[in-house]
Symmetry: C2
Subunit: 106 residues, 2 copies
DNA sequence: TTGACATGATACCATTTGGTATCGCACGGT
DNA sequence: ACCGTGCGATACCAAATGGTATCATGTCAA
């Protein structure tokens, strides 16, 4: 129940943010590039990106006047960590997954 | 992006609801029993339970005038299913987990 | 330098959300 | 039969959320 964990769960609760994560999975994108894929203003998209950043699911770096948003797989760890509390229902395989991710050290 | 999936993510976004799930993991509980563990009214707890039910994470059955709330592991499946889109970052182990859960047929 | 443009920062708005208070009802124990 | 109580339903509230509009700023290019 770390604040980190809460921020990650909150970030994943919105379908737009989950879609953004799917996009960023394969490639880095600027705010404007992300916004092109949605029917909303850049300001709204930037808000979502801020929430994703707060949740540790993406990192943002400045490149001149642009902000490059990058997916951060490590941000998923707190979520999977919480889910692992339900291992008993799933034959302990989730715990193995979590450990594997942590070992990757992404 | 099924409505089922969205409801599950939304249900997991609140820390109180996640705590409730943790409690129900080991034992069924009535609304009042759940409420005893929180500093809020039964009405508020019941609202959370309704959200959890909408998300398919618990099932509710009537027993006289009481409602027995039971954890439903199958409700996690849409969440893990979505997370599996990020397999490439985690050495494909999440997909294996998801398949294992679906085979369990819980 | 000057203009174009991506972003940041505010201010503002409608809706949703988490919560309380209150009422009524159905059920169970005595 | 009756009373207590577990629950559902409703009304209501403050705060958070998702969104827009607008303006300021920094940076790239000509």
């Amino acid at each position: 129940m770390t604040p980190q964990s809460q921020a990650a769960f909150r970030a994943l609760a919105d379908p737009t943010r989950r879609d953004i994560l799917m996009m960023l999975r394969g490639q880095e994108m600027t705010i404007a590039e992300v916004a092109e894929n949605f029917d909303m203003t850049r300001a709204a998209v930037k808000k979502h990106l801020t929430v994703l950043s707060d949740g540790g699911l993406i990192t943002v770096r400045a490149a001149g006047r642009e902000r490059i948003n990058t997916f951060d797989p490590g941000g998923m760890a707190p979520v999977l960590d919480w889910l692992s509390a339900f291992d008993a229902f799933w034959d302990d395989r989730l715990a193995a997954l979590r450990n594997a991710i942590e070992e990757d050290g992404t």
